[in-house]
Amino acid sequence: MEVTIQQSDIYALAPHHRFQWEEAQNSYVILFPEGMVKLHGGAGEILKRLDGKNSVADIIAELKAAFPDAENIEQDIIGMFELAVGKAWLRKL
């Protein structure tokens, strides 16, 4: 699926998906019918900032502030949104 992410877009978790910290995996996960995806740290940082109000630009700004040394962070974040939307884990509000 071709996905184009705009800075002004606001995303939320898709219906019937749940995002939670999973101690046994030492990571954030997304749960949905018959499946689980283990997220690496960066993806977890993005997803926990989805509150129904933050736009993609807001999240980029927050993460840039939180991780000032990370290179190409904006590109990485957009890439992760593309992937997550393409997988239908997220929906656009």
């Binding site: 939670q20 046994a24 995996q25 749960l31 018959e34 499946g35 689980m36 995806v37 283990k38 890439g79």
Partner: protein, 407 residues
């Protein structure tokens, strides 16, 4: 419900999504807990994978407290996806309590049901209690086949239940077990599922364990029918514009390599049965000389990590030739121990589905037998208490012997 719906395909769906976002492969943890809370069932499906001697376990079911303790203990071991299954789980009146506890513990919980016994009151309680989704079994688009294969009149009820599930905002997850009586209706089944608003549909070709093994010659479609069903499914995916996710579970008898059963013995899957036995797969109790742990007597952590039963077929050190030196052994781990035992008499033999197995002719023979009108005309042995009692008493031994190559 089917072995396929709970076994390999589900596990693969669970962990095989390691793309850019995912991290390392899973370590050995029982990510999936299947609670087979009862073997009682109002349906009598000919393809049920439940043990044919299930009648032994209808009187000694775990209590609500024992289930809750098992849920807590499994969660500590890393279990996160919970299937509440059976039999028909709704025959217990404490599913509401189990659901509430599952939510509290952080499980993603799934009620796997025929729909019989699901009322507005109960589904409301499940919603409030935090049940995450409901998987409904459907059998065909025709009342005739539905009622025939389940040996019950449940066709209209299933349609009502599907609407109820949708009405309460649940994702619609349908499971359709495929066999010779409905395999010709694949397109209509997919259209029905789409019209019901299903988000997911699993087309689970029958795998042959328990009751379905006894009825194998009566249920098995031909290779041509399976190929056609897959073609129709792919065409529907490509052309219908439906957003429904379709899982077509390929029948292993028509493949030349076995399935990686349960994604490996004791790797990600744990089953607690109605009477508390702890199993690495649905049908493990058919294996000889194995003592499985039970939650009434054994710590669940010990059962998973230390018990001889869970360690017996972990990894590949148990393998014999041709598996041992096979370069593909990591792909399928030699297939299914239960299938090997049931068909060859040796649990450590290669799964006879594999074309490298010296017993592969047994699979060819089974496919031929299913085409033989004289064999296929034998009556179906439906899954019910009366037939289970007969199985336990050995009265149907002649029928069983045809399929089990016991040592």
């Amino acid at each position: 419900m089917t072995q396929a719906s709970l076994g390999e395909s589900v596990v693969q769906k669970t962990i095989a999504q390691n793309n850019g976002v995912a991290a390392s492969a899973t370590q050995t943890q029982p990510l999936w807990l299947l609670a087979e809370v009862t073997y009682r069932c109002p349906l009598h499906c000919a393809f049920c994978y439940n043990p044919t001697d299930y009648d032994k376990h209808t009187q000694n079911e775990l209590t609500t407290e024992q289930w809750i303790q098992a849920l807590r203990d499994a969660r500590k071991l890393g279990a996160i996806q919970l299937g509440i299954s059976g039999g028909e789980p709704l025959l217990r009146d404490d599913i509401e309590e189990i659901v509430i506890e599952a939510k509290k513990l952080g499980y993603y919980s799934n009620l796997i049901t025929s729909g019989v016994g699901l009322t507005e009151k109960r589904i409301q309680a499940f919603k409030e209690g935090g049940l995450d989704h409901i998987q409904l079994s459907m059998h065909d688009i025709t009342e005739e086949i539905n009622n025939f294969i389940t040996n019950t009149k449940t066709f209209e009820l299933k349609k009502k239940v599907a609407a109820m599930i949708k009405g309460h905002g649940y994702p619609m997850v349908l499971n359709v077990v495929i066999h010779r009586y409905n395999i010709g209706h694949m397109k209509q089944i997919l259209e029905m599922a789409d019209a019901l608003g299903a988000e997911y549909i699993e087309l689970a070709n029958t795998q042959y364990y328990g009751w379905s093994l006894v009825n194998r010659s009566q249920l098995m479609p031909t290779k041509e029918q399976v190929d056609e069903a897959e073609r129709v499914t792919n065409e529907f995916r490509a052309q219908s514009g439906s957003k429904m996710k379709i899982f077509f579970v390929v029948p292993d008898y028509f493949s030349d390599r076995p399935k990686k059963c349960m994604n490996g013995w004791g790797e990600v899957f744990m089953i607690v049965t109605a009477n508390g036995d702890v199993l690495p797969c649905h049908s493990a109790r058919v294996l000889p000389n194995m003592q499985f742990p039970n939650v009434k007597d054994n710590d669940l952590g010990w059962s998973w990590k230390e018990s001889p039963a869970f360690n017996k077929y972990r990894g590949d050190s148990w393998m014999k030739e041709p598996c041992r030196s096979c370069e593909e052994k990591e792909k399928d781990l030699g297939g299914c121990r239960c299938q090997s035992f049931l068909l060859t008499g040796d649990a450590e033999a290669a799964d006879p589905v594999c074309s490298k197995s010296p017993y592969h002719h047994l699979i060819d023979q089974a496919i031929e037998d299913a085409k033989n009108p004289a064999i296929a005309a034998q009556p179906i042995v439906f899954r019910n208490d009366k037939n289970s009692k007969k199985m336990i008493a050995g009265e149907l031994q002649a029928r069983v012997d045809e399929f089990h190559a016991l040592p």
